[in-house]
Symmetry: C2
Subunit: 342 residues, 2 copies
DNA sequence: CTTTAGCACTCTAATACCGAGAGTGCTAAA
DNA sequence: TTTAGCACTCTCGGTATTAGAGTGCTAAAG
């Protein structure tokens, strides 16, 4: 579709714009990148690229700026053209920073979001491993002040969850003991999701026999294994709004980003998709408040299956190369950690 | 120091500025508030007030704007001059909104920050009840994958905490059982802080006898009862940066606010102070990045002693009256909840 | 046919200038 | 002590001007 030379010019323009945030003119391209072409030729090429929708000029006498489509080209073109050496150096430095997260078993995933933001000056996000996707190590139920039950759930992935359930009637510690023993003996090692399903099935069976006590117990079990829709971790908003990009739309954008619901859905969607980092550029974003932003997301896995997502949110003119490097490294890191770290 | 009339004028000016965010001129004061004085007289008074440091004019031909000192006067003057009726209505409406927090035992304090922000368009903060300040209901230790210990701590205030401790050597489930039984029998009902202290004392005693096993156990106990410095809850940043006030200093301010360390210290300080809401206005703020912001904070109590803080962060020209009403109501609400809710 | 030099053209950003409006401070009278 | 009157100051919005950057087009060169 584009000939080689045109591609190179487009690539150079996007790269240069990402670095400088200033519309890039024909003269600049000839100077900085040595195509051995005159500005006039470059201008012709740029005019073509504009016609094809890869570039626009903010106004007649400015240079050109990439469109979302331009960025898309850049990102797809990227893998073949990474400046490998420098990037490798950065990567190893970044990896050592990740290593320090291993200290805190519970904090790896939250820490990943933090690290991403700190190293990019964009926003780092991570969706924690959903308890439903994990396997039961043990669950404990305690009676608390008569009418409450304290639940502690421990998974084989090193996640601890707790909750307090308010009951209608008091349940004796002995009964609780028996319920949790039952759960642990029957279900240790199984996926939380599966257990919940089986419990529901059992429940409906028991109901047929009208055994209220057992039904109650089942209900407690089910409750004990249900947790509120996972939050996501997000760091770097203050840095981000300090970026010169959005001085106007700040409010709108800040709100979109803080809307965790949207975010959660987005991250979950990406979580399904296999492979490396996905890049969503500006208008490609399904959430319309986030046009003008780009996201680089990658799933991390647990036992071979994708289990959560980490990523970066930044302006469309973010440093994709760097971002992709970081996000992929982070996802790999968490995957490794989950499989052998704990 | 100021005569009655001067005070009234100052009060009127501050109030009016808070409402409109525009420098207020002499003519406006005579119109809006019926002092039966001519603009010229008001001008004289205003000139005096400026000399005394309560007002400044942004430039020669603008109206006056309160200084921090002006706000301080206003806040101190406020209690005697609340427009009681309207405020009462607001208060009852607000209280019902708070009521809905009772649903979720764990979320009251977090919810308080949310509610504060939602009802003020400023930033709501709350510092959770520190586990150290609570009393032990029970603690449980579980062996996890050999070299780890999972701890669950349940306090009489309804707080559950958990953590995972990495050990050098494996500790048998039986030993853990004995340790937790010991803790529960010996210390149930005691303050976590006290327990920690006593454990340290015991430890040094034991050390003298070189009993490694017991020392180890003590150490586990102590670890189990130690938790990372509490986070604080904070909501409303996106709304806040949308306010017209700080279009320039956004970055700086956003960073100051996100710096949880500073915040935690600040909140803890206020937590010590008895009585109703404390108001920190602009330059009164010990944290210099937060000059230009005001905070309204009030401690909530637990068993008679102050246990945490809730509050609002806003621009110096915030609606103090409303803010104080809300913060005090929220603090009272949490205090009540802790004493009888659970 | 492609590339290039030259040049006129367009648009922005910076600067200065002007006039209207707002609000003041001061003076002199009530 | 208060007030009316008035000159003064400063901001804000609009307009004009200019310098500079970068383009598109044309016509010549490779």
């Amino acid at each position: 579709m584009l000939n080689k030379r045109t591609e190179q010019v487009l690539f150079a323009i996007v790269q240069s714009y990402i670095a400088s945030h200033e519309p890039v003119g024909s003269r600049f391209v000839t100077k900085k990148y040595s195509f051995n072409l005159s500005p006039a030729t470059i201008r012709n090429i740029m005019a073509d690229l504009e016609e094809l929708g890869f570039l626009i000029q903010p106004h007649t006498s400015a240079g050109r700026v990439p469109t979302d489509r331009g960025y898309r080209f850049y990102v797809d073109y990227l893998p073949e053209h990474m400046a490998a050496v420098e990037e490798k150096n950065f990567l190893t430095a970044y990896m050592t920073r990740l290593e320090s997260l291993k200290e805190d078993l519970n904090g790896v995933i939250e820490g990943a979001a933090k690290t991403l933001s700190e190293n990019s000056s964009y926003i780092g996000v991570s969706a924690p491993l959903k308890p439903e996707k994990t396997t039961l190590n043990r669950v404990e139920l305690f009676s608390y002040k008569g009418r409450h039950i304290a639940v502690m759930l421990l998974t084989n992935e090193g996640i601890i969850k707790h909750k307090l359930i308010r009951m209608e009637q008091e349940v004796s510690p002995r009964t609780l003991r028996r319920i949790s023993d039952y759960l642990n003996q029957e279900f240790a090692g199984y996926g939380i999701d599966d257990i919940r399903l089986r419990l529901v099935r059992e429940m409906s069976k028991e109901k047929a026999f009208c055994d209220i006590l057992i039904t109650k117990a089942m209900e407690i079990c089910r409750e004990a294994l249900t947790f509120p829709a996972g939050d996501i971790y997000m760091y770097g908003l203050p840095e981000f709004i300090g970026l010169p990009d959005f001085s106007d739309r700040i409010k709108e954008i800040a709100r979109a980003i803080e809307d965790k619901h949207l975010m959660v859905r987005l991250l979950e969607k990406v979580c399904q998709e296999p492979g490396g980092a996905s890049v969503l550029i500006g208008s490609e974003n399904p959430v319309k408040e986030m046009r003008g932003l780009s996201m680089v997301l990658a799933p991390y896995g647990q036992g071979g299956r994708p289990a959560g997502t980490v990523g970066i949110i930044g302006p469309t003119r973010m440093d994709y190369n760097r971002a992709i490097t970081m996000v992929e490294a982070t996802a790999r890191f968490i995957t490794d950690f989950l499989s052998d770290g704990a």
